[in-house]
């Protein structure tokens, strides 16, 4: 049991972050805090991907003449990193759009409180 925890702790920590993000998105009333929770949620998924490519005693995936090409266990897997670079770009764009929308909301209503906004939407 303890060994399982030690071996897989990045996954458990990421899951905690993931749950934290979802909780924040639904429990927090301020739209800005919701956006922060959304970012935490996205980062947790990236951490899961990155953790998956980790190998003990392996090096970066650049050809090293001393190590050769015969044993792939000597290099870490570059693909999850590349995928997450793309995901980071997507995340930045999402944050950008969300911030622009938050700005529009604030200019019109002068508040970011969800209850207040819901009340104003019903009018």
């Amino acid at each position: 049991m303890f060994q399982l925890l030690v071996d897989h702790y990045p996954y458990y920590l990421s899951t905690v972050l993931l749950a934290l993000g979802i909780w924040g998105m639904f429990a927090k009333r301020n739209l800005m805090k919701k956006l922060i929770a959304l970012t935490i949620f996205q980062v947790s998924i990236m951490l899961i991907f990155i953790s998956s490519s980790f190998k003990t005693s392996a090096t970066i995936p650049i050809f090293d003449p001393d190590l050769g090409l015969t044993n792939p266990d000597l290099y870490i897997n570059p693909l999850p990193h590349v995928l997450m670079l793309t995901a980071i770009v997507v995340m930045v764009a999402t944050s950008g759009v969300a911030l622009a929308v938050i700005l529009m909301i604030y200019r019109r209503y002068h508040t970011l409180d969800e209850h207040e906004l819901t009340k104003r939407m019903r009018e």
Partner: protein
């Protein structure tokens, strides 16, 4: 350009014209619309050519950068994706023609970015459809969603608040999908759909694969606004500009349904998703709940746009129900309903936008006597309404017919009752409007009395869609035997 590059031309031409629209739009505002329309026409022509190629010679594939799959990214045009690509580009093309006058009236100073973003949105949707790579689906999904958030936040002053909810829920959906793809990658070491399908049968016992399937289906259920994840949809559709809604409402939620069908048909295989954990059954029952609740809520609305939005929630329920039945007939019903509903909803939302263009009205009780003032528009609305209720020969009847047949085949009598009851509920809320428009005495409302059919470009696109509903009803057997049967053959 050669014929084997077709799968990649469909999305890339739209991406190129997005940039061109923005560039020339900044030079001269009036150039934005013709350039956007040209881009959409190129993509529509490529999609139709692609469908013809697929029908004549079978599935086409294109390897990006010359890297062979599974290492490289592959774009595949098979029966399902060619069908969806033609549907998406055709509805977008018609909506773009329609949107010109409506944008000029509603959001005159934001026309250039709106056209560029609409092209980007459609590029994302066709990209999802043509790609054969799981991570590529995520990227295109986010391209479509981000462009969608931006166009929907423009318009009514309440639109940004509605859009923010959509951003939160849409991003959770996309991230769940990404997590599911990650689990599939950890289990198989590949992201190519065909390669995963080849490797999966040995791994069916793995809990990781089951978790991947659950995450992907939940993520897409969020994107397609399936009950109980529908809360964002009514406000978004109500406050977005009508030219945008007539493009987004018929297509955006269907793309989520497409991803589930694609996963079912060419990644997981139908056996895996129905045995053990009953994921498909859950999807079907959520669909049934969406049909009933969406229809009842639609009756309660007095705002035309909001009523159509709730009706969309009910109609996406039909698609989910068809997928959830997990038999060939159900899948045919679901795919046919994606096609029919895209035409019906585009037509109805365009009529709603046309009424707003001429009268500025949304409230259903205020529409009394409109049938005589806007004869063409209301005739198109009548055809759309008849199709929604499911009266032959309109197209909506046939998809419901296949869904009923498939429910009977699965001995699921509750679903049969749900479909029949919902048709009655549809009749209640659509005939209420028809009664107002045709049978009610004129209210003496100045706005209604001075109304007439909207400008030619709007009326023509509305009439094309209305004619399309009737034509689809007549040729549905041809579509099923040539396009949809080969898709289903993969799973039976």
């Amino acid at each position: 350009m050669t014929i084997d590059q077709l799968p990649v031309i469909i999305p890339v031409s739209l991406l190129i014209f997005t940039c061109l629209t923005l560039l020339f739009g900044f030079l001269r505002k009036s150039l934005a619309f013709p350039i956007a329309l040209t881009g959409m026409a190129v993509s529509l022509a490529a999609s139709i050519l692609g469908l013809v190629q697929v029908l004549l010679y079978g599935p086409q594939s294109y390897q990006l950068g010359g890297w062979a799959p599974p290492i490289g990214i592959e774009y595949v045009l098979d029966h399902l994706s060619a069908f969806m690509a033609v549907l998406i580009t055709f509805i977008s093309f018609i909506s773009l023609i329609y949107s010109r006058h409506s944008f000029a009236r509603e959001v005159p100073d934001k026309v250039v970015p709106l056209y560029a973003l609409l092209l980007l949105l459609v590029a994302g949707m066709v990209g999802i459809v043509v790609t054969g790579d799981l991570f590529n689906v995520f990227v295109f999904l986010e391209i479509a969603s981000l462009a969608g958030y931006a166009v929907m936040a423009i318009g009514h002053e309440k639109a940004p608040v509605a859009t923010f909810r959509y951003i939160i829920i849409g991003t959770i959906g996309a991230c769940f999908y990404l997590l599911g793809v990650g689990f599939l990658y950890f289990a198989t070491g590949t992201l190519n759909m065909a390669d995963i399908a080849r490797l999966l049968p040995d791994l069916y016992e793995s809990r990781l694969i089951l978790a991947a399937a659950v995450f992907i289906v939940i993520g897409m259920a969020l994107k397609m606004a399936l009950f109980p994840f529908h809360i964002w949809l009514p406000d978004v559709y109500t406050y977005a500009p009508s030219g945008v809604v007539s493009l987004v409402a018929p297509l955006m939620t269907k793309v989520g349904a497409y991803v589930i069908i694609r996963m079912l048909v060419s990644v997981f295989g139908p056996g895996f998703l129905s045995e053990g954990f009953p994921l498909m059954a859950v999807l079907g029952w959520l669909g049934a709940a969406a049909i009933v609740i969406g229809s009842i809520l639609a009756i309660a609305q007095s705002d035309l746009r909001r009523m159509l939005a709730y009706s969309s929630i009910a109609q996406i329920g039909y698609v989910a129900l068809g997928i959830g039945l997990n038999n060939p007939l159900g899948l045919i019903g679901a795919m046919l309903h994606i096609l029919n509903h895209a035409f019906m909803k585009a037509c109805l939302f365009q009529v709603a936008g046309g009424i707003r263009y001429r009268t500025g009205l949304w409230q259903i009780p205020m529409l009394a006597g409109l049938g005589r003032k806007m004869p063409w528009t209301m005739a198109a609305f009548t055809i759309g309404a008849i199709s929604m209720v499911g009266i032959p020969p309109a197209a909506g009847f046939f998809s419901k017919w296949y869904l009923v047949l498939s429910s009977i085949e699965a001995h699921n009598w509750v679903f049969v009752i749900v479909i029949i009851i919902s048709s009655l509920l549809n009749a209640v809320y659509f005939f209420r409007i028809l009664e107002k428009a045709y049978a009610s005495p004129e209210s003496g409302n100045e706005l209604v009395n001075t109304a007439s059919d909207p400008p030619a470009s709007m009326t023509v696109s509305i009439m094309v869609l209305a004619a399309g509903i009737l034509i689809l009803g007549l040729i549905n057997a041809i579509i099923i035997t040539n396009v949809l049967q080969p898709v289903v053959k993969l799973i039976s």
